[in-house]
């Protein structure tokens, strides 16, 4: 069976006065039904633009190119505006980061929930309402019927994010794109929301792309992981492969940065990645991570590093050999 979403060599360029900003530089991945792919990376690495480009929601200036961009056999690069509108919100839905700002304050919850369903599917207002109530209950909101008449400002952050999830599920999508869905929430609520998302995903057999910077979430939620740095996927693999044997120096560095209760000694200095992300404007030569990497050698600065696949779905973008990388990884552990 073909993958639900197949992306090959996706590029997003934003023309600026000083040259093109290469925000996403040729990334490839796929998502199957019932599977969660986590895209992890720091701010500015292009993870949000990746999701927006899949949804066809890029700012008008940005240019999207791809060798292959298939959603369930439909070529999204060739899809017309109308066709995209039919897919978006219907078969592919998005959960945004900020529940505070992504709901319209002037409309009731019910209005906003029902809108997408009424637009996409032939249902009556009554049916849409029933579906809205059903889903609000599903995401754990009590007194769902009375909530429909409420406005976003009357709900707490956690409830708003639940409404966002219910909204994404209204049309029964096959693919969910969640961009930092729990960043604005408390830890207790975060655990509940993630728990809920996984449950719903299993129940409906949806594919999910979860974008986050939180390695804790990735470890607990993902089936497969793609680590992004400076617009490229620098490492990908199953969650166990990436966390147990990180190959790319960037992934290794990231894992060293976070305090792990019971593993890092209290008060001891944490690992860090010195330097900052390079500018992605204009031509980029060599490995983008070279200026922050501990193992940089001459070739890193001049050679474009290909993604070396060690096994299907497992690969990393580094000139060091497997052996050297594994030794580095041991150093991490």
């Amino acid at each position: 069976m073909a993958a639900l979403l197949e992306v090959e060599n996706l590029r997003v360029d934003i023309p600026l006065g000083a040259g093109d900003l290469h925000a996403v530089r040729g990334i490839s991945f796929h998502v199957d039904r019932g599977e969660t792919l986590c895209i992890v990376g720091e701010s500015g690495c292009g993870k949000s633009l990746t999701s927006l480009s899949l949804m066809g929601l890029l700012p008008p200036k940005a240019v999207r190119q791809a060798d292959k961009l298939f959603f369930d056999g439909i070529d999204l690069t060739q899809a017309s505006q109308g066709k995209m509108s039919d897919i978006r919100g219907n078969r592919m839905a998005m959960i945004f980061q900020e529940p505070m700002t992504s709901l319209n304050p002037a409309y009731t919850i019910g209005n906003q929930l029902e809108e997408a369903l009424l637009r996409h599917q032939k249902v009556s207002g009554k049916e849409a309402r029933e579906r809205a109530i059903h889903l609000l209950e599903k995401v754990g909101i009590t007194g769902a019927a009375s909530r429909l008449g409420q406005y976003p400002h009357q709900l707490s952050g956690g409830l708003r994010q639940r409404v966002m999830i219910a909204m994404a599920l209204m049309c029964g999508p096959e693919l969910i794109l969640a961009d930092e869905p729990t960043t604005a929430l408390d830890v207790t609520i975060q655990a509940q929301i993630l728990h809920l998302m996984i449950e719903l995903q299993k129940e409906f057999g949806m594919g999910m792309i979860l974008i986050t910077h939180d390695l804790g979430i990735v470890a607990r939620v993902a089936d497969r992981v793609a680590v992004m740095y400076a617009g490229q996927i620098v490492e990908s693999g199953t969650v166990n492969e990436v966390f147990d044997n990180p190959m790319h120096p960037y992934t290794q560095g990231l894992l060293r940065c976070i305090p792990v209760p019971g593993k890092t000694r209290r008060g001891e200095p944490l690992g860090s990645i010195p330097g900052i992300v390079p500018s992605l404007i204009g031509k980029i030569e060599g490995c983008a991570f070279a200026n922050r990497c501990r193992y940089t050698f001459q070739d890193c600065l001049t050679t474009d590093v290909p993604l070396a696949e060690t096994s299907p779905g497992r690969g990393y973008r580094c000139l060091l050999s497997d052996q050297q990388c594994l030794e580095n990884a041991k150093e991490v552990a």
Partner: protein, 330 residues
Amino acid sequence: MSPTTTSATPPVLETRDLHCTFQVRQGMFKPKKPLHAVNGISLKVHKGEVLGLVGESGCGKSTFARILLGLQKATAGDVRIDGHATTDFTRKQISRRIQPIFQDPYSSLNPRKTIGTIITLPLSVHGVGDPSSWRGTVEKMMDLCGLPKRVYDSFPNQLSGGQRQRVAIARALVMRPEVVICDEPTSALDVSVQSQILNLLQDLRAELGLTYVLISHNLAVVEHMATSVAVMYLGRIVEQTDTDTLFRAPKHPYTEALLASVLTPEPGKGVPDAQLGATFPNPINPPPGCTFHTRCPKVMDVCRQIAPREITIDGSTVECHLHDRQLNAA
């Protein structure tokens, strides 16, 4: 570091039964209602300690921090610095001893001032030393905080998030305060930068003998940095103990739930279900009895009626009926 060595000297920072109540308007013609943002907090912080303060949003952490900084008046109770009540001090005197580091380095620095001016400001406000010596003092502080000299004349928008937070730290420390209130110092930063800032805070603490009050919702950070932890819920401290004990053997059900919600980067463990209801109670109408009883998985009848008292067990304090031996014996 350990409580035994410092118990003789008065705590550098102490609060006694601190209250802060806001009058909240309910509607145009309805009477105002009180909101107890801080509802009787007694805490002691000894020199060199790092007190971690954790709790969900809306529990009063930031109001508490504002009171400590003298930015908000307490309605009852007092804050003491070295045993002296802050009501005896002016704002300026308080700010010489207690300084804040805020969450968002993007909005806490004036975009129209150069880095040099921003860090110098406390010195000129307090008239510390000779103006000609300021530049030297500031550059030394910048160096200590890992800022290159060349950014002295830069503007905040020319710096990265991590560098901005370093500026905020340098500004807070240039007065050589004794206590630094860090309100979510790293939550706006990327992972790789976060660890740099945490390391910097640790180094500075050792070097300058600082005391921190670290407010954070990231429990992994608190565990890494803090020497003791206070857990806050609806304006009260429900559990306070040293970091080891808290993370090894939490007593309050709320602490247990918080710890269970932490997502450590260990694949295969799945997402825990903390079993807390989603509804954070409305602080204007707090539930009767124990304020946590609406979400507590171990709720008993008595919790719905009687507010738990503070119980001290082996040096840690907890407010929960489960640990009240008198009550359980009766």
